[in-house]
Amino acid sequence: MLPDLNALTPIFRRVFDIDDIELQPATSAKDIPEWDSLMHIQLIVAVEKHFGVRFAPGEIDKLQNVGEFLDLIHRKMAPK
């Protein structure tokens, strides 16, 4: 089963140390004030560790919102 918002939410909550974060596909850095470039890195590393994937620099730069994040994870986890 591919991860969905429910799988991503606890990671966001832990990384930002904010317990009531609710994620939507459209949620972006604009919606979470703490989501700056530093936290972006930590978020990426946490997601990578959790799902056993690795993103390329170009992919990290392009991410606009949570929905795109999930799509990217799905692409990485898809059998080649």
Partner: protein, 616 residues
């Protein structure tokens, strides 16, 4: 979740700091740092000194972890981030924000990209070496200017080996980027002045593994110089070095016995039944750990035993087990009884004249670790793994024994304490205190501060916390300035007795205030020689020198701190008259030179008081 982020974090500052010490996961450490800084109001409430950062990467990516870890080791600081990669810019410009900040300490953390080799590949050895000298010289020169202008201590990281070296395929001996970095690092180590403290990031990165240490993607993305997990070790090493510079390194390792120094329980299994030494992998692992501890002892770290056991049986193991690497004389304190380990640790600290925070506690039993942690929170309890073959690495990666340099005293320290134990046994035989002091046959050498001892004097002022009357710290340069100022009265005392040489153990200086008065600047003494009469000797010498200079009085100031309770009544005990209260709970005490009656002493002084005059 699969990562350690699953773990719940404490909600209080002290709990977070404790959690930080043993945290192995980079994400988790960053999270602890963020929560701690939020609690500490962005860190504004904390901070006992000021630290500036000039970094070749983005300091923002790891400053929170450095602040957290330094606070966890007892040294919270107020930070300031200088210009990105602005080593020359910030240091050469006297009007830069760096100097306006007035830092007490500065971290210069260049990356391999800041170390510029000559055009490579090349076979021009001479040009290669010339350029290496130029690069090392460039950074040391900046350190000197910085120290000169800001009077601060400087931490300079040496250079990591290049993250990528296109010439890595060439054999050793060829002129590669990596060979260049090694050469520059050697030059830095060989020619750095004493106020520059090298943080050996090159060794750290290679011990960790370069490819895990550096994450080139994070570098390209955020100029983060090393991976999040690697940062854990950088932060620990950094905090260990800061502690060493500020004189609060770990001075003693307190060791459990059963399943810590050997496998099995000597009380149950008998001396021959324990697993130690050749014959089993486990026994070899314990033996290797003992050898590691012996190495620490030789470098000046004291070893003490704290075990819930039958003392007789345990002494028997030390005396008769053929595979024991540690011998009874390697132990500065042997505390084997059935009392609480928390109490025993405090007793060990008292015995060795150390503060509890100078002790590290090693025990295989998590319950004992927890008790000590709860009852003596300032003591460093190391989280040990179950596998004894990991003991040495675990202790090493805690970075408890960072140092600003090996001294002669380090090499002799364990012997001092061994002699001290003999002294104590001797003292138990002599019932009357005066005859005890006489029987020690103490000889002192007392002279004004000597230029050749400036480094040691600065070190003792900076690391003494208990017998420290004003807790003022001095750089080596400030001590040299003091020596060159003929108006300053200064005394340094070396002490030896029939059991051994204590080395330089006490010093004080006073500055003139007006025509008739000298005022104590600071006075420190090693606690090893407490109540031997050195306190009185030093008073005698200062006062007689003041008399000789025609001064009417000396003002002795005292400022209380959390750590110098030992000397809060010293002046009263010496019979001085209190003259006034000072700021910060301090007090000023007067000694009139005309009515001063020198204290009788049990110490023979080799240098007459008149030699206290500085020779021009």
């Amino acid at each position: 979740m699969k990562t350690s982020l699953e773990k719940e974090l404490p909600v209080d500052s002290a709990g977070l700091l404790r959690e930080a010490l043993d945290c192995e996961d980079g994400l988790q450490l960053a999270r602890i740092a963020r929560r701690w800084l939020k609690l500490e109001d962005g860190g504004k409430r904390e901070g006992t000194f000021k630290m500036a950062f000039i970094c070749g990467g983005s300091a923002e990516t790891y400053l929170p972890q450095l602040r957290l870890m330094s606070a966890a080791r007892g040294h919270p600081f107020m930070p300031m981030i200088g210009t990105f990669s602005g080593f020359s810019e910030d240091i050469l410009d006297p009007s830069s924000e760096l100097y306006a900040f007035k830092p007490d300490m500065v971290l210069l953390h260049p990356t391999p990209l800041d170390c510029v080799p000559p055009p490579l590949p090349s076979r021009d050895q001479k040009e290669f070496l010339r350029q290496a000298e130029a690069e090392a010289g460039r950074f040391l020169h900046l350190c000197e200017i910085l120290h000169e202008r800001a009077q601060c201590e400087v931490i300079l990281t040496n250079f990591e080996h290049p993250w990528e070296d296109p010439l890595a395929g060439l054999p050793p001996g060829e002129l590669t980027h990596s060979a260049f970095v090694s050469r520059v690092n050697d030059l830095l180590a060989a020619s750095k002045p004493s106020f520059v403290h090298l943080l050996d990031v090159a060794s750290l990165a290679s011990a960790y593994g370069r490819d895990r240490w550096h994450d080139s993607r994070l570098w390209h993305h955020a100029k983060q110089p090393c991976s999040l997990d690697g940062m854990v070790y950088f932060a620990r090493k950094f905090a260990g070095l800061v502690a060493a510079i500020r004189g609060s390194g770990t001075k003693c390792v307190v060791l459990d016995l059963d399943n810590t120094l050997w496998g099995g329980e000597a009380g149950e299994d008998g001396v021959e039944g324990i697993r130690l030494g050749e014959g089993s992998a486990e026994g070899e692992a314990f033996k290797a750990f003992q050898a590691y501890l012996l190495g620490l002892k030789k470098r000046g770290i004291l070893l003490a035993v704290c075990s819930k056991n039958d003392e007789r049986v345990m002494r028997e193991v030390f005396a008769s087990h053929p595979e024991m690497v540690l011998k009874p004389e390697d132990l500065s304190c042997f505390m084997v009884n059935w009392e609480s380990k928390a109490d025993n640790c405090l007793e060990i600290a008292r015995n060795l004249n150390l503060l509890p925070q100078a002790l590290a506690f090693i025990d295989d039993n998590p319950a004992e670790r927890e008790i000590v942690r709860q009852f003596v929170p300032e003591l460093r309890v190391v989280e040990m793994p179950d596998d004894p073959s990991l003991f040495p690495a675990t202790l090493e990666r805690a970075f408890l024994f960072e140092s600003v340099g090996l001294t002669d005293e380090d090499l002799k320290r364990a012997d001092y304490y061994h002699a001290e134990n003999r002294r104590r046994e001797h003292g138990e035989k002599v019932t009357d205190f005066h005859s005890y002091l006489t029987s020690l046959v103490m000889v002192a050498e007392a002279v004004p501060y000597q230029a050749c001892d400036a480094a040691r004097i600065s070190q003792l002022f900076n690391k003494s916390n208990q017998f420290n009357l004003c807790t003022r710290r001095y750089t080596e340069k400030e001590i040299r300035d003091t020596i060159e100022n003929p108006d300053v009265l200064s005394v340094q005392v070396r002490l030896a007795d029939r059991f051994g040489d204590h080395g330089l153990i006490s010093m004080a200086h006073a500055v003139p205030v007006g025509n008739a008065t000298a005022r104590l600047e600071n006075w420190v003494m090693s606690c090893r020689v407490l109540k031997r009469g050195v306190e009185q000797l030093l008073c005698n010498l200062l006062v007689s020198e003041a008399q000789r200079r025609g001064l009417e009085q000396i003002e002795f100031d005292f400022y209380p701190t959390a750590k110098n309770g030992l000397v809060k009544d010293l002046y009263a005990q010496l019979g001085f008259q209190k003259s006034m209260d000072l700021d910060q709970g301090g007090s000023r005490w007067l000694v009139k030179t005309s009515s001063y009656v020198p204290f009788p002493l049990h110490i023979r002084v080799n240098s007459p008081a008149c030699s206290l005059t500085s020779t021009p």
